[in-house]
């Protein structure tokens, strides 16, 4: 329990990495690191597919990265309100994140390759998410 608070709408509440949400609430964006082989995983996972170890620890991410691609959705599935901009970014740590671009930046011309920062964002109803901001 706890993961149901993540994102604009959630589809599952139980996961071994639900502490991710607690970290988000404290303003930290965390990945996991495999203690056996050192692989950094994001979005976080409790299990390392590289060495099959489940001996993992939380590790903070800088959140700094570059925009890889994006789209602005003008039609939204039920429960979402268009328009919104989805993006994929690669963080300094070499991992990628799929999320939204913050509303203020949405109107500006987004450029693939531009620097972005992944930040936590509180939503209503005690929900929490992360989004990308221009830097």
């Amino acid at each position: 329990m706890g993961f149901e608070k993540f994102g604009i709408m959630s589809y599952t509440k139980e996961t071994k990495v639900e502490d991710f949400v607690k970290h988000l609430e404290d303003g930290r964006i965390m990945g996991t690191r495999c203690k056996k082989c050192g692989t950094i995983i994001f979005p976080p996972r409790a299990d390392c597919a590289k060495c099959l170890s489940s001996n993992i620890e939380w590790t903070p991410l800088s959140g700094r990265g570059k925009l890889i691609t994006h789209t602005t959705a003008h039609f939204a599935p039920a429960g979402f309100e268009a328009p919104y901009t989805l993006a994929l970014a690669e963080l300094e740590e070499g991992v990628r994140v799929f999320t939204r671009i913050c509303k203020d930046d949405e109107k500006d011309k987004l450029k693939i390759g531009m620097y972005v920062q992944l930040v936590t964002k509180r939503l209503g109803d005690e929900r929490i998410t992360y989004e990308l901001k221009k830097i």
Binding site: T69, T71, T72, L86, L88
Partner: protein, 385 residues
């Protein structure tokens, strides 16, 4: 043992927005057409039935059993194969293995989807869950958005333009006019497409394929019986099947589908040929950008030159490599589970020389590229006459 495997019968229903009949009746139509299409074949000869469907659209739980009963195929074995939009290609691959192993001789592969079974709200809800439900669906990800992100990356990397995307749909519309089984039989223009509503930038309404109802059936047979059943057996000479991460964040590239590239390598190697040996191809154009990526992933042109290929009309009949001359998913409609079988049907007709107005002259080798979801399953099949 180690028999060659041929397609000996093909059939499909007309793809429509809303078929107004039940799934059993839909499958029956495709099955009967495939049986009739084979010169010398009846229901009793079929020794296995593979049903292909994306079950989230089905009201009937475990539809394979129901369909086997309705077709009069009991007690022959039956089961469901699922790989979303690539379900019936995967079904064909399983049928190939069944026959190749010697376990079966003649197997029917029926793909179907009655997408109108769901309300649009239900259908949207399914669409959302097509992404990683923990890490991507919570942001409002959806099929067109993913392909829009591929398009944006491709445009940035290679200079592909929205006009080039539109030209894919123009070709599709033109050929759909010659396919009586296509859902849309409508010509269109670059201008009309460019002015259609944006769904997820840069993709517009006409860059996207539409939900449809429909069924397809292909019948596969072993070498020993194929020539008795059909005057024009079409042989499966290459098979490739691969996967890629469901989550976009886990992908290394977003301007290409790695599952297609991997499956292509397997299929070309097995068939012992190269891209230039393919005479006619069916590719999974669920969105216009998907066809451009397919040109490159299949090696029909160099990486980044997919836009140029359509500019030069090289994928029209008479060009270097005619692609989707049946209208493709964009105009035929995309009843998820039926699509792979419909693509195979088109290639089989081409290789038999039965494609009428859209016949590619002297087509000897054909290729089917069928993708599941946002590029998580990639199937490539190669056929020869």
């Amino acid at each position: 043992m180690h028999s060659k495997v041929a397609v000996v019968g093909v059939g499909q229903t007309t793809f429509t927005r809303s078929c107004g009949i039940s799934i059993r009746e839909l499958c029956f139509e495709a099955f009967r057409e495939a049986i009739d299409d084979a010169r010398n074949l009846s229901t009793e000869d079929i020794d296995g039935l593979i049903i292909c469907s994306a079950p989230e659209y089905d009201k009937q739980r475990s539809p394979a059993g129901l369909i086997a009963e309705y077709l009069g195929l009991n007690p022959k074995p039956t089961f469901l194969a699922e790989a979303i939009c690539a379900s019936s290609s995967v079904g064909a691959r399983i049928a190939w293995s069944f026959i190749r192993s010697g376990l079966h001789k003649i197997v029917a592969v029926i793909g179907f989807q009655k997408m109108s079974e769901l309300t649009s709200a239900e259908s949207q809800e399914r669409m959302l869950r097509g992404g990683d439900i923990m890490w991507e669906s919570p942001f409002g990800s959806m099929m067109p958005a993913y392909y829009a992100m591929f398009a944006r990356a491709h445009m940035n990397e290679y200079g592909t333009t929205e006009e080039q995307l539109a030209k894919i749909k123009v070709k599709s519309g033109m050929y759909s006019m010659m396919n009586p089984k296509a859902m849309y039989q409508k010509e269109t223009t670059v201008e009309k497409i460019m002015n259609s509503k944006i769904v997820a930038s840069p993709l517009k309404v006409f860059d996207c394929c539409a939900n449809a109802d429909g069924a397809s059936c292909i019948i596969l047979a072993s070498e020993e019986v194929a020539e008795k059943i059909s005057d024009t057996p079409v042989w499966i000479t290459g098979l490739g099947l691969a996967s890629a991460p469901l989550s976009l964040a886990s992908r290394k590239t977003v301007s290409s589908l790695s599952c297609a590239v991997e499956a292509r390598k397997q299929a070309y190697k097995m068939a012992g040929l190269k891209a230039r040996d393919v005479d006619v191809a069916e590719v999974h154009d669920c969105f216009t950008i998907a066809e451009i990526m397919a040109y490159e992933d299949l090696g029909f042109c160099k990486r980044g030159e997919g836009g140029k290929l359509i500019d030069n009309e090289e994928t029209y009949i008479g060009g270097k490599i005619p692609v989707n001359v049946d209208g493709g998913l964009l105009s035929k409609g995309h009843p998820v589970g039926a699509t792979g079988g419909s693509q195979i049907r088109t290639i089989v007709q081409q290789l038999r020389g039965e494609a009428g107005k859209t016949q590619v002259a002297d087509a000897e080798t054909g290729l089917v590229h069928n993708i599941g979801g946002i590029g998580l399953y990639g199937s490539i099949m190669i056929f020869s006459r």
